[in-house]
Subunit: 406 residues, 2 copies
């Protein structure tokens, strides 16, 4: 084990805790719940100190001992990870949050945090001998998995709502994925993929239906801890659709505790949803342990338009166990927050990422956040993929014209 690239041990059901072997393609537990990846953390503890990370290359693979790829040659990478943690002081001052940060996932390959899950998920799929993978997507995950699948030499089949950001079609198509548009929501696309996977015996790469996507996403948690020099922040806001980001960060926090890298105190995790699609917020408010399917869900923040998440109970557990909460913001509020981040800090974030700022403002006003807490907003993607969120009239000049300043 010592000297191994990965200290992968086995899989464990997130609900019934049944254990299973990791070295064949695995999907849901027989009880229908997602599987979590477990490692020989005691062995890692002896083998690796957090100080040893410093000199490693700035990608998520710096945490390879706690990632599931056994052989380094199977790593499929586009250089993803170690995204910037940016202080946003001007906005922090306005909101009365002295130490406000944005972790900017928009600078990852394919322009969103989905690259993390795809990098690790596709690498492991390659290692397990997968030839064809299939998945539904709200756009960004499809773009990312199509790209990494192309680099791995794996065929990808992807189904996407017609209303998903159109640039993500290009990403899938140019990478050679077999792409289908669906006149419906991601839940409809998921049902189509579910049937196709059974018929064709493809590898189901749907959210939480294979265990390795979480492992990529959890590296956000490792990076945040490392960037705060292992003194974790007080609160992390995360836009929540399928919920894998927040589940992954929570998993990383628990692993880092087991490794002795961080102490007892954890950041309060806040799940942010859009008012038009807020099943987890409703479940949280009702004290329920699972969410109800949200009928006729809608929001301009397309990535979090997920009416029912398979991992809803894991999201609710993560926010409960860390003393966090779930909160919804309206499309108007998140679009306003998007402009605020761009105008004040030059950050052109996606609508989902912008929602976290709107949520932080609300929770500060409610005094749920204190003035001196260290607060991280996760921006999950670049605004470049959402051309329709900005509408400004722009004057057109002829070459002989001069600028007119009104």
């Amino acid at each position: 084990m010592s000297g191994a690239f990965s200290f992968l041990s086995h899989l464990e059901c997130s609900r019934c805790h049944t254990l299973s072997l990791a070295d064949a393609p695995a999907h849901l537990c027989t009880c229908g719940s997602p599987l979590l990846v477990r490692y020989h953390l005691d062995a890692i503890r002896t083998h690796l100190s957090k100080e040893m990370l410093r000199s490693r290359a700035p990608s998520l693979w710096r945490y390879h001992e706690m990632l599931p790829v056994r052989v380094a040659d199977n790593v499929v990478t586009l250089g993803e990870g170690m995204t910037p943690l940016l202080p946003v002081k001007r906005i922090g001052q306005k909101l009365g949050i002295k130490q406000l940060f944005v972790k900017d996932e928009g600078v990852l390959p394919t322009g969103s945090f989905k690259a993390r899950g795809a990098a690790v998920g596709v690498s492991r799929a390659k290692e397990l001998g997968v030839n064809v993978l299939a998945m539904p997507t709200n756009g960004n995950a499809g773009g990312a998995w199509a790209a990494y699948a192309a680099r791995a030499g794996i065929n990808a089949v992807i189904a996407m709502p017609e209303a998903a950001p159109s640039i993500t079609r290009n990403e899938c198509a140019i990478s050679g994925a077999k792409l289908y548009l669906v006149n419906g929501l991601i839940s409809d696309a998921g049902a189509i993929i579910g049937r196709a996977v059974k018929t064709h015996h493809w590898y189901d790469a749907s959210t939480l239906k294979e265990p390795y996507r979480i492992e990529g996403k959890k590296t956000m948690g490792y990076e945040i801890a490392e960037q705060f020099e292992w003194d974790v922040p007080d609160v992390i806001f995360y836009p929540t659709g399928g919920g894998v980001g927040i589940i992954g960060i929570y998993k990383a926090l628990r692993e880092m505790q087991d490794l002795g890298w961080i102490g007892e105190r954890l950041p309060r995790l806040v799940a942010v949803q859009a008012s038009g699609c807020d099943p987890i917020v409703r479940a949280w408010q009702e004290g329920a342990s699972v969410s109800q399917f949200k009928e006729a869900s809608h929001t301009i923040a397309f990535g979090i338009n997920v009416p029912k998440a398979l991992g809803d109970f894991l999201v609710l557990e993560a926010i409960r166990d860390t003393g966090g909460c779930a909160i919804a913001v309206s499309d108007d509020e998140l679009l306003h927050a998007q402009r605020t981040l761009a105008t004040n800090e030059g950050l052109f974030v996606c609508p989902e990422g912008a929602a976290t700022l709107a949520a932080a403002q609300k929770l500060r006003e409610a005094n749920w956040l204190a003035e001196d807490e260290r607060v991280v907003l996760l921006n999950t993607g670049t605004g470049l993929k959402y051309p329709d969120t900005v509408h400004v009239p722009i004057p057109v000049l002829q070459p002989h014209d001069d600028l007119s300043l009104e």
Copy 2:
């Protein structure tokens, strides 16, 4: 000097070599040529070893001694720099180039290499007390400078051809820049900005009309050298419009020689243009030291649609002095190369970046490149900003449909 954040010394005209002071806003030399920034390289040589860089954060500011910002607090950053250097083995094998790499600038903030010039240029403008900056752009530079200006609290005035990628309008507008579209080329936009700068006494941030943008771009050269462990590659391909990227890399190479960090051998620098806008290629073929204005220029690779570059003579000098060359590729060739990179390697690059692959293929076929040479293609931006380069028919399904595999 020892312990200083920057070892900035003075400015020097790139043509007549007149020296000038660096600590006031500066634009062109009285002779009309661009100014270059000079440093106390001897002092840096004593103060800083290349080994000391290893433990620094992965941004271009790791090279701060060789950058012009004197006070660390004036740094305006969105986390730019240390972009991945990705082996593209599958394509290399097809082309007979065993060691082929893409340096992917698409993962920078604002999605293009322009972030480097903007980060350093805006930081220095802030340090010099600038309140309003103005510039023409083919899109990406405007998007980047608008973002960094917003973060710096500087007002930006930007003029852009109507035909520039439309998403770059959003970037400028949402960051609060004063944006104008121009019914013409970047040269027309440049003339309008030139008149406005005189009238309103704004800071002219046009390409090469202030000396600090090059300094940001040159960090590509430092990064490439560091990523190759100071044994520089044999050839670097660069898409060339205004030429600042190639000028900056050449400047970095010369500085690193003076610092004793690299040896005598330099990479051959190759300027890649589009057939529809190839003034530097023509000048190179004719053995001229400057280029002629290209009439009715056109190419889908909009960022390199620059009919006459102010720094053309510096580009020609860089490729001559390194044993490089200049080469043009057609729009069909570069679009084909764009698909090749996406399908084979999952890299969705911009058309400008794709042009470098088309050029490498041509030069390999002509045996100008040898099979065992280490070749770097500079991808200057993400394909996400160019939705119109991909056209694939995509089937639409109803929720009850099954996937149809033909």
